[in-house]
Symmetry: C2
Subunit: 398 residues, 2 copies
């Protein structure tokens, strides 16, 4: 576990988090408006990680939300200055692009661009962009070098680090995918200034998750600093992004391909969360972080049912999610549909639903000990219209 | 180099060729009608290679050509007997299935089948089936265990071993793909008895290639045994399939992901060959092996132009391909279109076309030393309507 940090102590404005994966190792650089160094960062990441191949071209994948902010022009200029010719391709914003059709559009662009095995892919955007562009990087010419430039909190603290890339099947989220580590991850927390509040909240769900699964002192930091974080205090943001990336890097370094079971702890809240997203519809009322927030509460209650965790711990979790404006239940969703969606979860073995459940704030374990009765009771509580822990309405400003 | 074998000396009817890739090692079993052992072979391959995961279900991917022969029923029965529940999905025969649409159909089948990370994929068929089913195995749930059961000579000696899987883009063959090693390869040379002659010839092009790139004694075996091979003498077939797999395994073990450059030697004949296929159309008059045959001759002539190889060696190659009924030129194809297609080859760096060219029968090297003028002259000879080495017409029986 890393030492406890506090916002007041965190004076860094440019932190380097190594992800140790032997020949596939790379650096996550977390800073605040350091775009002038982006070109040389990419150049070095490519030279170090893609031995013998010199990239002189890059396909920048982004969406029109980001081009409206003019963000891609600055990144293109930085690439050009580093001797890498960029071509930008836009995908429509939203989860709908994370599909075979979305991938086909990028394959077309690469063919039209006469990409070769040395062409880099730069994923500039949120989780959809990173997952989609990453999948295309994993599967074009059997693997292109990938640079992640996550611009949402969710992507910065979660999907940009660790090599999981993929797209959705209409009936199962993220089921089509691969492991493909980036050669570098460039995180500018300044990009969060213009992020809609709801997007910030969604990212915070994953930040809270790291506290629950492996870092109780960090969970306490979040309780203490909730207000500063929501106010987007620069140091508060650097602290939560840097610490989250460090924690994720630690897990990924020990279990790159989710084989030992350790990496599965990152799925806390996601078994129920993915089911909520599927049932509510990917583009529906629950965004990923919101579904995970409600999922974490539901799975914690399942842990309580198994006698693993105290009601006090759940109370702390619910209170923190409430302060962050995240939902802690999913009233009105169909229980049978949720159960059906959970039965397709990738973690399952031989049809038995596997959960990652907390033993305490800071520690989780994987189990398939929950009975169908327990699971049904958990879902009943999750979808109840009169749950006592009704969240703040999501539009409300704290 | 393995010792020189001869058909008369080869009494084996069941040979095991190991592919040494550390934790991804596997066995290629080459035999003649040993289907009774298939179930236990798959069981062992899965247990050894997919630690901690027990497959109890398998998706058998095949095409209607094979179901017409009743082949899949025997394999299904063998899987059932080994405690693995099979479900068979048919894809339409032909290169058209090696597409995103073809992959989408298999993803749908896996979702409908409620496949999990332990479901095995059994690719029963030729190269199209292996490449397509392998790509889906590489990208479903971030990787399913794959068993290759190649039923054409081309797939037995080439595409089933080594982990290259992929599908076509309308404008570039095999450009969408991954490295995904199978957990085992089961080769029944008895399946070749019912293979159309043209398909046998196509496989022989790749067999000849192994002789040229790395095994001069094997090339001499082929010259000596050409008649027995075309007559599908069982021992002759076992010899060429076993030796080809051993040679390919040797290359793949040293350069799994085509990083050191060694594996690139397998591309001899393919730079021009792929261009011929693209220009003639994937489903056109040139099948893959035929395009590779003409490509090997063209690339050997390019080597002659560079002073690397003697006219005698080319004469031996042309004569052997002729005896196998393979084309040694591509009269009438458009030179500019061929050049354009070659400029998109995955091996290229910074727009320069790279070739694998022979120094002698038994040895090749990678080079980008060929000038555009040399390449154009080679293409002029390839497409000439009055080439002196006009092949036997492909329908002709030797």
């Amino acid at each position: 576990m890393p030492p406890t940090g506090s916002v007041a102590d965190s004076e860094f404005l440019d932190e380097r988090v190594p992800v140790e994966l032997g020949p596939r190792s790379y650096i996550v650089r977390v800073g605040n408006r350091r775009l002038d160094a982006f070109g040389s960062f990419v150049r070095q990441a490519l030279d170090r990680s893609w031995a013998g191949r010199t990239s002189r071209t890059a396909l920048v994948v982004t969406d029109s939300n980001l081009t409206a902010l003019g963000l891609h022009s600055a990144y293109e200029a930085a690439l050009s200055a580093a001797g890498i010719e960029p071509v930008t391709v836009l995908v429509p914003p939203g989860e709908g692009s994370k599909s075979l059709a979305g991938a086909a559009k990028l394959y077309d662009a690469l063919v039209a661009f006469k990409a070769d095995r040395h062409t880099a892919i730069v994923a500039l955007g949120g989780g959809v962009i990173g997952d989609l562009a990453g999948f295309v990087a994993a599967t074009y010419a059997r693997g292109l070098p990938l640079v992640m430039v996550p611009t949402t909190l969710l992507a910065q603290v979660d999907s940009s680090v660790g090599g999981k890339v993929g797209i959705n099947h209409p009936a199962a989220k993220n089921i089509i995918g691969a492991f493909h580590q980036p050669v570098g991850v460039w995180i500018d927390t300044g990009a969060l200034d213009s992020l809609p509040l709801r997007e910030v909240r969604c990212g915070l769900a994953e930040v809270v998750k790291y506290g629950v699964i492996m870092d109780a002192p960090f969970f306490a930091d979040l309780e203490r600093d909730a207000r500063a974080i929501l106010a987007r205090d620069p140091r508060a943001l650097l602290h939560i992004v840097g610490r989250s990336c460090r924690l994720k890097a630690q897990v990924v370094a020990q279990d790159e391909r989710e084989e030992s079971g350790l990496r599965a702890i990152l799925n806390f809240g996601h078994t129920v969360g993915h089911a909520i997203e599927t049932v509510a519809g990917y583009a529906g009322e629950f965004q990923h972080g919101e579904a995970v927030a409600a999922g974490m509460v539901a799975e914690s209650r399942l842990a309580e049912r198994l006698g693993w965790i105290s009601p006090d711990a759940i109370e702390r979790l619910v209170r923190l999610l409430d302060r962050f404006g995240l939902p802690t239940s999913a009233p009105g969703l169909d229980r049978e549909h949720l159960l059906e969606a959970m039965s397709r979860d990738k973690k399952n073995r031989q049809g038995k639903i596997r959960f990652v459940l907390p033993r305490a704030i800071g520690r989780v374990e994987t189990t398939d000990a929950a009975s169908e009765e327990d699971v049904r009771a958990m879902l009943a509580e999750l979808v109840s219209l009169s749950a006592p822990e009704t969240p703040l309405s999501r539009g409300q400003i704290e």
